[in-house]
Symmetry: C2
Subunit: 288 residues, 2 copies
């Protein structure tokens, strides 16, 4: 059972509290750091570890004081093996130095001591891959993520659990179960978990696609009750506008962290151009 109150590492507030403050101060934008091969090429960078690092540090320079969070896409670093993961380590370190929250988009999930090892990698002080938060995948059950939920609470870090995504094939798992769907179970479990954070924004977030449309209402998902942040990928290149986001999430919109990647990144490699593109997206999110 969740403890009533989680004590974060001394001197570090809970992730939810820190993210809520950043969203209030800067606006609800998360910029994806997605060094796709095609983007590296467009930026004149090599598709290697040095290119990944240069790409990532450029994005951080452009948006580090502007976005509430950045979200490096782990798969794109892993593609270059240990050298790519070393570039990710330097990216996460630079994000910490730039005073912007990091979300390692790793979608990890396992059970028992193996899940504890993933938690160690991404959420423990002293780990070279430690980020402010990490995305998790719950095919083995929400409760299988327990080691990460508890370690995050202990260290003032956070998690975002996949709940409902907008890719067409996602429904074949997430929508199953009718009024007691898989996605609804994940949402309810996150809500229960966030009671440990009291009145503050919880540190257990969810990933819900920006373009899920009416699925939220169709499946009866109460995101407001989650009282945690909602990471919503799909702004821009994937088709959602800030107005769509407002309409899709309704009263839960204040919890939503809109995430844009390609739509901002394609403005690079100029730092000023990237910052301008991010500022435009942020304006849209604030206005909605």
């Amino acid at each position: 059972m969740p403890e009533p109150e989680a004590a974060a590492t001394p001197g570090r507030e809970s992730f939810g509290s820190r993210l809520g403050q950043a969203m209030a101060d800067r606006g609800p934008l998360c910029v994806g750091i997605d060094p796709h091969p095609a983007l590296l090429q467009a930026w004149g960078l090599n598709d290697d570890a040095a290119g990944l690092e240069r790409f990532s540090l450029t994005v951080l320079e452009a948006v580090g004081s502007l976005a509430a969070a950045v979200k490096p896409q782990v798969a794109l670093y892993e593609r270059h093996g240990s050298a790519g993961m070393a570039a990710l380590e330097r990216t996460l370190e630079a994000a910490a130095g730039a005073d912007v929250l990091s979300i390692a988009d790793a979608k990890r999930g396992d059970i028992g001591s193996t899940m504890a090892a993933y938690a160690d990698a991404w959420l423990r002080d002293g780990s070279s891959l430690a980020a402010d938060s990490v995305t998790l995948s719950p095919y083995l059950g929400f409760e299988s993520l327990r080691p990460a939920l508890d370690l995050a609470a202990e260290y003032g870090r956070g998690v975002f659990v996949l709940a409902l995504t907008s890719n067409p094939e996602g429904a074949s798992v997430q929508h199953v179960g009718g009024s007691d769907s898989v996605a609804r179970r994940i949402v309810q479990a996150a809500a229960a978990e966030n009671t440990r954070y009291g009145a503050t924004l919880g540190s257990v977030g969810l990933v819900v696609g920006a373009t899920v449309g009416s699925a939220l209402t169709d499946l009866g998902l109460d995101l407001g009750a989650v009282r945690g942040p909602i990471l919503a990928p799909g702004l821009g290149a994937q088709g959602a506008t800030p107005a769509d986001l407002r309409k899709t999430f309704g009263t839960a919109y204040p919890q939503v962290l809109g995430t844009s990647s390609r739509d901002i990144l394609k403005a690079g490699p100029g730092v000023r151009d990237l910052a301008d593109a991010a500022a435009r997206t942020l304006d849209g999110l604030r206005a909605a």
Copy 2:
């Protein structure tokens, strides 16, 4: 749609064909390479990248000519960041040199170009992390794994998709949907996918816990129809005997690759002791 027949990299047979041959020649045993902190300590090794590598190469030396496959647990390498991943790279390279098939237990899953990046990392010739096969997690839908399914077919590699696990919390996702459960959908999708491999053992395997008990029949899962390998973790330390495996999987038993980790690894660090423990497990699997 799956193509009718997949052409593997010239000179390399399909993964399913290679695994089927290895199971016929050596018996249906996969040895987990799980460098847990407690095991490293018991073996007198440091909990660092050098310790991971020494541990892994010792297991390979002991079982590389005996087991059909080895399964490094990626989380335990990732726990040590890029240095740990470099140890995993050397482990996978050594496995290839030792002529034993490798299953990178990574449980990766994403969509679109991100999923393609994971496929590149684990399944593409030339990647430093390339393994003979990789485990995948289908919370985003079986079809979201398409880039890995196709790349595996192209390069004579394979995948094992999480289907039904024995951890108690797994049911909250996998059993949902009654007669059309999430687990059943995964099993059916894998069966459809393996038609591309014709009469040979397919290269799309499933992960099904050795201790799922009656859930297979309760949920109406037809593993025989999958015509692909079934990776069944849970032998030994997690409570299943070869006889249990035989009973649980019934007529699908010939497809089952029994996986044992701690029960064998605890016999280390002596190479002879490890090999003896693996041989005992193998005898049990053959007898059942």
